[in-house]
Structure formats: C-alpha cells, structure tokens
C-alpha cells in the first residue's frame, strides 16, 4: 500500500516537472543549471585546473549582484580572520623597495604561467590602487593607498599605538575577506599567491615611514 502511494507521488512529481518545463524555470533551478554549465564548459589548461571553479563558501555567497545575508557575511569574515597566519617572530615589515617591485608586477597564476609558486607571482597592486604618487598608471577598482601609513598616524612602527593598524594591514593582505566578506581583493596569503616575506615587503611599502608612499 505504502509502495503504491510512493509510486503515485513519484508520478505526480514527474508530471509536475513536465508541466514545469513549459513555464520559466525557478531561480533556484537556474542556479543549479548555471553551476552545471560552469562545470561542463571548462577544462584544465596548464596550472589552471578545474578545481579553481569549485567554490568555497565565501566565493559562492559573493556570486550575486546582491550582498549575502548579514549573518553569512559575518561568518565569512570571522572564518577569514581566524585563518590569518601572523608573521613569524612578530616581524611585520620587510623592504619597501621589494614591495614596490611586487606592487608593479601583475604576473602570475594564469594558464600561460609556468608555476604556482608564490615566488613567481607579482602582487598586482597598481592594477587596482594608487600607491606611490610617482606612478601615474594605476587602477581605480580599489581605494587610493597614497600616504597609507602617514594618513593613519604611523610614524614609528615599533610604537604600540601603531600596532592596531599594522595588524589590520597584515590581516587585509593575508585574507582580505576578514574585514569585508565580498572584498574584490585576492586573499594573498590565504590563497598562497604570495609568501610571508613578500607580504612583509608590501607591508613596508605601505607602512614604513621611509617608503615613498608616505612622503
């Protein structure tokens, strides 16, 4: 009896699907179809493998013209902050000259690049940000970082008053989603785009009082 009942339910469901085909698909159905389309449309090429379109929670939640629900955004941020790896020995700053080179370099991680080793990657900062005023070829997707450290009152990196902004900047570079769930900025440390030393050098570019960014 129960089995027969199940058959009827199944038949009704199939009939519903057939009728449904004549109508516009629901938004949820389109979401599923779009995911299937993404999986079917791409292939591996060089270092760019299909795992790159397997989304994590944050990527999925930020794949819409609308922001994710507040609770989801807070969860993404909390998990991102918890994932930040702080610098060994509390050494936050490297060499701003190296940082400037990295900021200029937009290479890395495409299917035409030979290696995923962070050492082969640039930080591509100027693609989206103004940084040193001498560089006029800068993008505008991100905010201007001109005078980044000076505007935030960092005149001595060892001063405990600077600690909060120093840590925030490290966290932002390591995992930008820690402070904005759907930030456009790549997660340079978290996604292994840059290594610790490279991030130290970028920190120096932004925060070292001697960096041209702060002149």
């Amino acid at each position: 009896m129960q089995r027969k009942h199940l058959h009827i339910v199944a038949a009704l469901a199939v009939a519903g699907l057939v009728v449904g085909c004549a109508l516009a698909p629901t938004s949820a159905a389109l979401d599923q179809q779009a995911l299937a389309m993404m999986q079917a449309s791409f292939r591996d090429q060089g270092i760019a493998k299909l795992d790159r379109i397997r989304q994590d929670m944050g990527q999925q939640a930020c794949s819409s013209p609308n922001a994710p629900p507040e609770a989801v955004a807070r969860q993404i941020e909390a998990e991102a902050l918890a994932s930040v790896k702080w610098p060994q020995g509390g050494q936050y700053l490297g060499d701003w000259r190296e940082g400037e080179k990295l900021a200029q370099n937009g290479r890395g991680m495409t299917w035409s690049d030979p290696s995923t080793n962070p050492g082969a990657n640039g930080a591509q900062c100027y693609n989206c940000h103004q940084i040193d005023k001498k560089e006029v070829s800068f993008g505008t997707i991100g905010p201007s970082l001109l005078n980044y450290g000076r505007l935030r009152g960092v005149s001595d990196i060892a001063d405990p008053a600077s600690a909060a902004i120093v840590q925030y900047t490290w966290g932002k570079l390591w995992n930008s989603k820690a402070y904005a769930a759907c930030s456009n900025m790549p997660r340079f440390g978290h996604s292994q785009l840059l290594n610790e030393q490279q991030i130290r050098d970028l920190m120096a570019l932004l925060l070292d009082p001697k960096s041209p960014v702060n002149q």
């Binding site: 516009a24 449309s41 791409f42 292939r43 299909l50 693609n127």
Partner: protein, 272 residues
Amino acid sequence: MNPIPWMALALVALVAALPGAAAADAPPKSAADGIAEYRRMLEDGNPAELFEAKGEEIWKTPRGPAKATLQRCDLGLGAGVVKGAWVQLPRWFADTGRVQDLESRLLSCMATLQGFNAAEIAATPFDKGEQATLAALAAWISAESKGQKLALPQNHPEEKRFYELGKRAFFFRGGPMDFSCASCHGEDGKRIRLQDLPNLTRNPGNGIGFAAWPAYRVSSGEMWSMQRRLNDCYRQQRFPYPGFASDVTIALGVYMGVNAKGAESIAPALKR
C-alpha cells in the same frame, strides 16, 4: 602590405601624446580619449579590413569535404542573409535546438553544409587552421552590421534562460584570486592601470564593450572574435580554459548583448 611597421610608428606617436607628456600644461587625457584619438588616426586603415575581405571571400568559396559555400548558411535572418545578422546574435536556432553565437553557428554551418568536423575545429588553437577561417568570417559578418544597434531577441524561452545563466556566470566568483567578470565590469568608471573598464551589467554606450568586438588587437597583431575576447578574460580571471563555443561563452554573450540593447555596433573595431 604588412600594416604592422607603420602602426607601430603611430603607436609611438600616440604614446608620446599620452598622459605623462601632456600632464604639465593640459588636463590629463583619459585612456579612452587616447584610444579614441588612436582610432581616428587609423580611421582609414584598420587592419580588420584585410580580415573582412578574406572573410567575404571564404563565405563565397566552395570548401570542405562537400566542396560547398556558406551562402546557404542561416545566421538567424534566413539562409544567406548576412546584413544585420550580427547585431541579433546570440539567438535561438530551431534546426540545432540551441542558442548559438556567431562562432558556434558558423561551426554548425561548416559541419552541415561543408562537411567539416565541428568538434575538431572547436579544439583547434586560435589563429590556426579553420580557426583562422572563423576569425575572418566573424570580421566580415560583423562588419556587415556596422552602425546598426544591438537587438538580440529575447522571445524564445531558451533565449531568456540563457540570459539568466549568463548573468549567473557573470557574477560567478572563483579561481585563486576570487575574481568574477563583475570584479572588473560590474561598476561604472573603474579602470585597471589606465585601461577604462566598461560596466557590462548595463548598456555601456555605443561601440563600447560587447558592441566593439570582434576587433583587431594592435598589441598582438591579431583579429579577435568575441570567443577569443572571452577566452582571454577568463585567462586573466585565472580560471581554467573555457571550451570554444561552450555554453558559458554563449550565455555570457546573451547577457552582455541583451544588456547593451540599442548600443551601436562598431565591429570590427580597433583595440590597443
């Protein structure tokens, strides 16, 4: 005959006229101003014309195992009608039961009329073999709609569905840098370095974005179809490789083309 050397000279002249040099006395030019000026300088000599002539010739020439021309190919407005076809693509085709863009439609015609192997052509690298044929055909066919307004049909349920799929693909974030198409093309007035970025979630204006491809790329000396443009977007997005004429590329074409409804097509355009 080779256009490259004098074009390189023109580029040098243009670069000399660009922001750094001009900054002292005049307000800095936007990248778009510079490119518009560059286009004017080359108005009578867009190398795309060479590809247009080649494409027209290929269309009329008996080719492939069946030694047939493409003159009975239906690009959406009836067999053999080329004028006006480009500004209504991608669209639904009843004979294949698919929404198709220009390149996927040409693949179907080359298979059914001329006996070519469509899958083999789709797997051929850009600019090689029959892919070079497709680029030339796209140049000519788009040129036959130059000055017309984009008017992609949205009547068939599949055309509407592909718009919705394209929208989802446009906002799909992934890859090691978390980029989607919308990361760069979702807002007005943004740029990468000095390159202005069109907002493709709406009509960005005449001859901008979807209305500017296919185009001749001066930097690479190549004729790029929309398929090739999208392919390089995904490379820079750090995604894996989109199949030629795959559904995601066609759905994105529908999304961008429908959003740009009414924009005047300048294809084949000239790009840096």
